[in-house]
Symmetry: C2
Subunit: 703 residues, 2 copies
């Protein structure tokens, strides 16, 4: 699973629409540590989630502020996470002679542990429910704007008070879509040093073909150590290592930071995604993937230029295919339908929730409007200026320049959101980026995009005719790229300084194109913002409030990158009539490499070839379980009833990609590295016996 | 260019809709040898196409009945063509120890020349216009069916009479869409032996990424020799070798057998293809290419299973992208528009052509119906049973069985065309084929197809709901594949023997699916056959007759796999603001391999690496010219004014793919191997000095 999915989703999650659900299903749930599913665990799994157990697991869990999860695994501050979570740090530590990200890293002694440049880890020390205090400060007679300001004020007050009192980082988090507010206090660690990472080829074995797939053979693990005052931090709560690791059928828990879920989505919204949103997105992704692959095939230099975009397109394509497959499972949507009907009927019975009664229909209406406008919107506007009909870095720059000139003179609140003062710095960082632009690549992308534009909006439409200006897409793209000087950052700066006078007078081909397209692009954006997004925002807020009023906090809130506890069984599944076993082993890794003639991305790193005979090939390597996870859970420990480490989450299978919207354990699985595989590999392939001993407690006094 | 394009098109061409045009443009035209563009050549190029010159070139030209063109290049029956035209013969000559197709072949003496299994070459010896005799036999008062029978009868009579008299193969060919009928007499050669072929990697250097591209570096050449009575045939007319080969700007000719063009297509039809047909086909091809690539990436065995289909999808995708790019060139469609207006206004002025007046509007109406039905038709019916919504070999077999049972009891003329008696043998060959079926591959294709079906016809449509039967596409595909026994050929045979009773009673999952889909599939097929194809057939016949009445035989007829003469200039072109030179050389080949680190498909065969120092790297290798060619021209000689060989056609560039509909010399180019490159390579890389001497006439008495 790439950073786009398990990581970035998490980063973007804070403050987004969240929801809740009452009827949990199977092993569903990303539960709050202060509201765990005690009854369910007792009844279904005969497990007592004691306060002590919960506190221990909570304080053993670590949040990576770069996105992702981890856990303490020794008294000396050792932290375990995924290689792909540690990737950013590994990359930044490299230099011309060292590529730690690609080749791995191993500190043979603590002296050799290398401090990360900008990594911060947080540990959640306490949770306090401050809902009443917040609600008391937000008087019912305030209008929306006043309420927002009052809420921000009391939140800031609570946070400051807590920081002053405890010295701990203190955040008030919004849960249940505003049904509850909790104060989270974190211990911060800023001196974080890398201890061990395998080669990237072992961590991400199977590359893109195996991404989101199972069975898997990945050593996606990485170890850090937190320091205080220049010494390894002494940690009270850390997870010990299980003797056996995960076994078939056993109850396991995942403690981590799922980034974002959309389980409040109405049936109408899911139907839109199933029938229009995902198929249309996939149509574009298929098209782009073929274009980028074909371009890459022409030369090594082309492949280099296109690599990053191709990689991201393939990752999105896989993720969306998985999501669509889930939405096409009628059992899942039937469950959603039943839940929705139950809630609607409860709402109908309560006079105090009258305003929410029509919310579902208003969302259905908005989805209809969205379906009608999505093609035009995607072609002309897209997300963050990435209009699919003009796919070119030059166009993105040109549009930003044209719009900045128009927007900046307006009062801050009246501007398009990306031009508000708060975003100025990051917008300029992007606009004046030295990132190289390759004209051949721009030509290939833009010609393909203009062809798509003509097909999607109709060749004879007025706008398409104006855009193509009497030329074929290929010729017009060449003309546009030849006629722009926006590669020169000085030219961009001059246009920013010159304001709307400068952009209006500019004869630059791309500036002229951006000017030409802007009225229609703005018009369709306005429809989407006003008639879709705003309608949905209001309706979802009403549904969330109604849901909370009906169901209370009897369940878990949508994921918000806060610490959650999930649980489930270690369990294989059936796929296309075949039983997929719950675990893989090292023998399977070597077999897979052999079947692929050791060709990338299925090649074994040389030391794995050399050390084959030393390894016990029957050692479990990866396994799956039914725990409810999503992007942000990367690096979460998988633990047993005794809170011992049995594995390490690093991916979800393709069937798990629907978990964004709805939980299912039919085939959806969390994919983890097995604890025994970790120890066997670091001992016998990487000669990291000291680390293995620290993990397994060998040489440690019995507790 | 793959066999799909330059070859197979040719095979399918005979008897298809053909057209004509009066206004030729630039170096347009695939001219008849008995109706050459004498005036144009004289005025534009100051060239006299004398009877003697024409006869010499005609009789030096060779038709490969496997599809493709060639020429005599020595008095001893040496024939030159492309490696990819000779591929079929090379493959059939191979055995467990010899892969001549892949590794090449070189007969060091005539004794070593190997006889092909089933290759027949034809040489056109004479053309006789028999239009009057045919028309006289087809009385004007006959109805369509009677006219057809009468025409067939007189054609057979003429052919038999000619064969009896001359002993030559005699075919009456239809030209100008029935405006003319010519009797073609061919000398047949059936003892054809292979003399020389390079390794396939040299012939098809650059593989798929370079297919339909330019600049190129391909030695796509192959030599055969025709024998008579066990000895090399002595040939009167053959092409001699040019001293210099093709030079920039010079006038050249191409003599060969273009397979099929559709230049009669109306503007409405081209607009349909531009706005609906090609974009929709490309949408499917993009989707399939990604699915097949992803499936292939999972294992070597997967890649092997998917290879052929993936290759063909990529080839079609490239071809259609090129065609669409041409259709999106407004200059081309404006020319078509002007030509069409001129013809329509001429028709309007003639009372005898009254019936054709509305033909254009009827075609436009049919194209509208086609656009409305194409998605459903493609999903449920497709071409030759290949319904895109059920892409699976099992489904194709099941549908054939279900329909055969229903169709065979009907009178021959009432059946769906593929079930007519004339097609019985080839249908059964396909139906009872031992070709292996891989269930994993079927699963991947069918699950993707059912997903596409749900999206295209609407998830909630009655048919989709019935097809999915309450399951997700993935699950349903697994269930269908698990539930069929059609892999067993005995099961298929039993169902054929059991007839409609057996298919109706069968509980085989795929048979049941085929039964379920059939009513709607037949219904949409009927709309397409009746309201589109038949309407167009009649309207195009009227337009063709009108065109012939107005313009006569003053121009060339659409391609029909008969011998044609094209001409043009050796000339580079501009692409994306860059000038593409007219020729490449060996130095460029080595540079390209180096830039790609000699990785497939840009790797050099070992002997090319060894012999690099022996080669004159400045020798021209490939070049382009503006001659009007299309699929079927593969292997055509490129000759100069003196009828000397200067090159060998083997491909068209991506911009030439629009030539199916309309000629353009802006960027469209025929791609050829340069005569000097051929001789230099066979001498210095392949040590085939004897062959090179035979070609260049070294050691031959001066004429």
């Amino acid at each position: 699973m790439k950073s786009q999915s398990l990581l970035s989703a998490a980063v973007a999650a804070l403050g987004l629409v969240t929801g809740l659900t009452n009827v949990t299903y199977g092993d569903e749930g990303m539960w709050l540590f202060n509201n765990p599913p005690r009854k369910l665990l007792k009844e279904k799994h005969n497990f007592d989630a004691t306060e002590k157990w919960l506190e221990h697991v909570q304080k053993s869990s670590v949040r990576f502020n770069s996105g992702g999860s981890g856990s303490f695994v020794s008294a000396d501050g050792l932290v375990m996470t995924n290689h792909h979570v540690g990737a950013d740090c590994l990359q930044k530590l490299g230099d011309q002679e060292h590529n730690y990200y690609r080749d791995g890293f191993h500190a043979k002694s603590r002296d050799e542990e290398k401090r990360c440049v900008d990594l911060e880890l947080n540990v959640l020390m306490s949770i306090e429910d401050v809902t009443e205090r917040i609600n008391a400060a937000v008087k019912p007679d305030l209008n929306a704007e006043q309420a927002f300001a009052a809420r921000r004020k009391i939140m800031a007050e609570i946070e400051k008070e807590s920081l002053d009192k405890t010295g701990l980082r203190s955040d008030v988090v919004t849960l249940y879509q505003g049904g509850q507010y909790h104060l989270y206090r974190f211990k911060k660690y800023t001196d974080v040093r890398v201890v061990f990472a395998p080669d990237q080829q072992a961590a991400f074995y199977g590359g893109d073909p195996d991404n989101f797939e199972y069975p898997r053979y990945d050593l996606d693990v990485c170890f850090f150590r937190v320091y205080e005052n220049g010494k390894p931090a002494q940690i009270e709560h850390y997870l010990t290592w299980s003797q056996n690791g995960a076994t078939d059928g056993e109850l396991v828990f995942v403690s981590g930071h799922p980034g974002r879920t959309d389980r409040l989505d109405t049936l109408a919204e899911l139907q839109y995604l199933r029938d229009t949103g995902f198929p249309y997105l996939l149509e574009r992704l298929y098209r782009m993937e073929v274009m980028l692959s074909a371009y890459s095939g022409r030369s090594d230099e082309n492949a280099r230029q296109a690599k990053e975009l191709l990689f991201s397109v393939q990752n999105s394509r896989k993720a969306r295919e998985g999501g669509l497959a889930g939405l096409l499972d009628p059992a899942l949507l039937a469950r959603k339908d039943a839940d929705e009907k139950a809630l609607r009927s409860a709402v109908a019975g309560r006079a105090d929730l009258k305003d929410a009664l029509s919310a579902w229909d208003r969302i259905a209406g908005a989805e209809k409007t969205r379906a009608e406008n999505i093609r035009k919107f995607t072609m002309l506007e897209g997300a963050r200026g990435g209009a699919a009909g003009f796919a070119s870095t030059y166009f993105t720059i040109a549009r930003t320049l044209v719009r900045a000139a128009e927007e900046r003179p307006k009062p801050n609140g009246d501007r398009l959101c990306e031009f508000r003062d708060s975003n100025r710095e990051s917008l300029e960082l992007e606009l004046f980026s030295e990132e190289p632009i390759y004209d051949g690549f721009e030509q290939a992308r833009l010609a393909s995009a203009l062809t798509f534009l003509a097909n999607q909006l109709g060749y004879n439409s007025e706008l398409v005719q104006k855009v193509l200006a009497g030329k074929s897409p290929e010729e017009r793209a060449a003309e546009l790229i030849k006629g722009t000087r926006l590669k020169d950052i000085a030219v961009r700066k001059a246009l920013v300084e010159g304001g709307s006078k400068a952009t209006a007078a500019s004869s630059d081909s791309m500036i002229a194109l951006a000017r030409l397209v802007d009225p229609e692009a703005r018009a369709v954006r306005k429809i989407m913002e006003t008639d879709v997004d705003e309608v949905k925002r209001q309706a979802y807020a009403q549904i969330a409030r109604a849901k909370y009023a009906v169901e209370g906090a009897s369940t878990y809130p949508d994921a918000t990158f806060t610490l959650r506890l999930a649980f489930g069984a270690v369990k294989g599944y059936e796929e296309n009539g075949q039983q997929i076993p719950f675990e893989t082993n090292f023998a399977g890794l070597y077999l897979r490499a052999k079947q692929h003639h050791n060709r990338p991305p299925f090649d074994l790193p040389p030391r794995w070839v050399e050390r084959k005979d030393k390894l016990d090939l029957n050692t479990p390597f990866n396994f799956v379980c039914t725990a409810d996870i999503i992007g942000g859970n990367s690096g979460s420990p998988v633990i047993n009833r005794n809170a011992e480490v049995v594995g390490l989450i690093f991916d979800g299978n393709i069937q798990s990609l629907v978990l964004d919207f709805i939980y299912t354990d039919k085939q959806a699985r969390a994919v983890a590295v097995h604890s025994q595989g970790i120890v066997e590999a670091i001992r016998k392939v990487y000669d990291a016996a000291t680390l293995a001993d620290e993990l397994t407690g060998k040489g440690r006094a019995s507790p």
